[in-house]
């Protein structure tokens, strides 16, 4: 990974706790029919989150939107699952090193009385055809969350994570588009769910993860064969002026 992506410049909210938009996807093609679900491709991801982010996840310190994007990467990536498992084992050892705290009297008796309680009602139906961690946020049928057309081949679906500066959204961009050159004010995490895009760092396809910060300028191109659906997590507002600013206004409402 190039050095510029390793070191976040000063002045950026250090925590990955907030969200904003990710990529500005603009093109010239007419609106395309999109697919409604994610299709599994063969092959494992080639672009992975850094260990430090996986540690945040394993230790329970990642903001919800960040935990979501990492959980979905884990669906596609046995290698990072193994890393997280090792971190969880390490966390468990740290717990075992603490002096234990006896439970209050009768705590066990009270719990034994609860074992036959029915479970609380399950969450509303999850959407089918998406990785499980994501499906839980999409709902299905009447409760399905709507996609919003932003124009120029871009659709957006904001996911209902807990209120925080860090938010998550799906972006669906028509095949063959190219995003204008842009930079980011904050940090941006992207995970490809379907289709692919390419920038100067490589080609990103299903399961691939990319982290970008304010130092990165790029102009990702969507693959020619199908729309690209990605999950994007942002932690800082975009501030762009002029025509481009109008285009991304919908994002800024986040």
């Amino acid at each position: 990974m190039p050095e510029s992506r390793e070191n976040f410049p000063d002045g950026i909210d250090p925590a990955w706790r907030g969200a904003r938009i990710s990529r500005i996807l603009i093109g010239k093609e007419p609106w395309e029919t999109r697919r409604s679900t994610v299709h599994t491709k063969s092959g494992l991801p080639e672009h992975h989150p850094e260990e430090a982010l996986l540690l945040d996840y394993a230790f329970g310190n990642a903001a919800e939107a960040v935990a979501l994007i990492l959980a979905i990467h884990l669906v596609f990536c046995p290698r990072c699952r193994a890393t997280v498992a090792a971190m969880e084992s390490a966390a468990s050892r740290l717990v075992e090193g603490l002096p234990s705290r006896p439970m209050r009297e009768a705590a066990l008796d009270r719990l034994l009385l609860r074992l036959d309680e029915p479970e609380a009602v399950a969450e509303p139906d999850a959407a089918l055809g998406y990785p499980a961690p994501l499906a839980a946020y999409l709902g299905s049928g009447e409760q399905a969350r709507p996609w919003r057309k932003l124009g120029r081949g871009i659709e957006q679906l904001v996911l209902p994570t807990a209120p925080s500066a860090t938010r998550a959204m799906l972006l669906r961009v028509a095949a063959g588009r190219r995003m204008p050159k842009h930079t980011h004010r904050g940090n941006e995490l992207t995970l490809v769910l379907q289709g692919d895009y390419s920038d100067q760092y490589g080609r990103y396809a299903q399961g691939d993860f990319e982290a970008a910060d304010g130092s990165l300028t790029h102009s990702p191109a969507i693959g020619k064969d199908e729309p690209c659906v990605s999950l994007v997590v942002l932690d800082a507002p975009l501030r762009l002026a002029g025509a481009l600013g109008r285009i991304i206004n919908p994002f800024v409402q986040l």
């Binding site: 850094e50 990492l70 193994a82 740290l94």
Partner: protein, 191 residues
């Protein structure tokens, strides 16, 4: 049948994974009670160390152990030790309760899950054995790496929080995490 008297057998010598199996296969309350005795005080210590008051910690432990009872059949001894499995449940309950956030978690039974390559049978360590090696590697970490893991864990700080508070460059924090992880993974790979 919550009123049914419970005869709690002495299971002090039984392996944790066998206790979970008894819960999964036979809804064995004695086995569950033994798991509670062994693990609940550790979970309580964890939650209080991370800032919960005693009442809140006890409630989260209750929720976590109730999930152990209900989800015992999903425990997979090839993936994790019982201690680690129970820790992850408590970690997620803590996030629900104290941060009021959902905890997205991948589902090992997700049809979309990309399978891991199966290791040759004699190459794969049991989860228990893996954790012994991991404990050794953890104890042998250089102080700066060990301190960083402790800070992240016990003070609930993300790596970016740690950089901001300690004044260390973010790149330094990341590289220490990477080095620590490298050591832990090499210990697990047996090399």
């Amino acid at each position: 049948m919550s009123g049914e008297p419970i005869i709690l057998a002495d299971l002090g010598e039984v392996e944790p994974a066998a206790l979970v199996a008894r819960v999964a296969e036979g809804a064995d309350r004695s086995a569950f009670a033994e798991l509670f005795r062994r693990f609940a005080p550790r979970l309580k210590a964890y939650l209080m160390r991370l800032g919960a008051d005693e009442g809140g910690a006890e409630e989260v432990v209750q929720e976590a152990m109730l999930t152990v009872w209900r989800r015992a059949a999903t425990f997979d001894a090839r993936q994790a030790s019982v201690a680690t499995w129970i820790f992850t449940i408590a970690r997620n309950k803590r996030i629900d309760r104290f941060r009021r956030e959902r905890r997205p978690e991948f589902d090992p039974h997700d049809p979309m899950l990309a399978p891991a390559a199966d290791p040759a049978p004699d190459e794969s360590l049991g989860a228990q054995q893996e954790e012994c090696r991991l404990a050794e590697a953890l104890a042998a970490l250089p102080a700066e790496q060990a301190d960083l893991l402790r800070l992240a864990f016990f003070d609930s700080l993300s790596h970016a929080d740690i950089a901001a508070r300690s004044g260390l460059p973010l790149g330094t924090v990341k590289s220490r995490v990477r080095l620590a992880l490298g050591r832990l993974r090499r210990a697990l790979d047996g090399s």
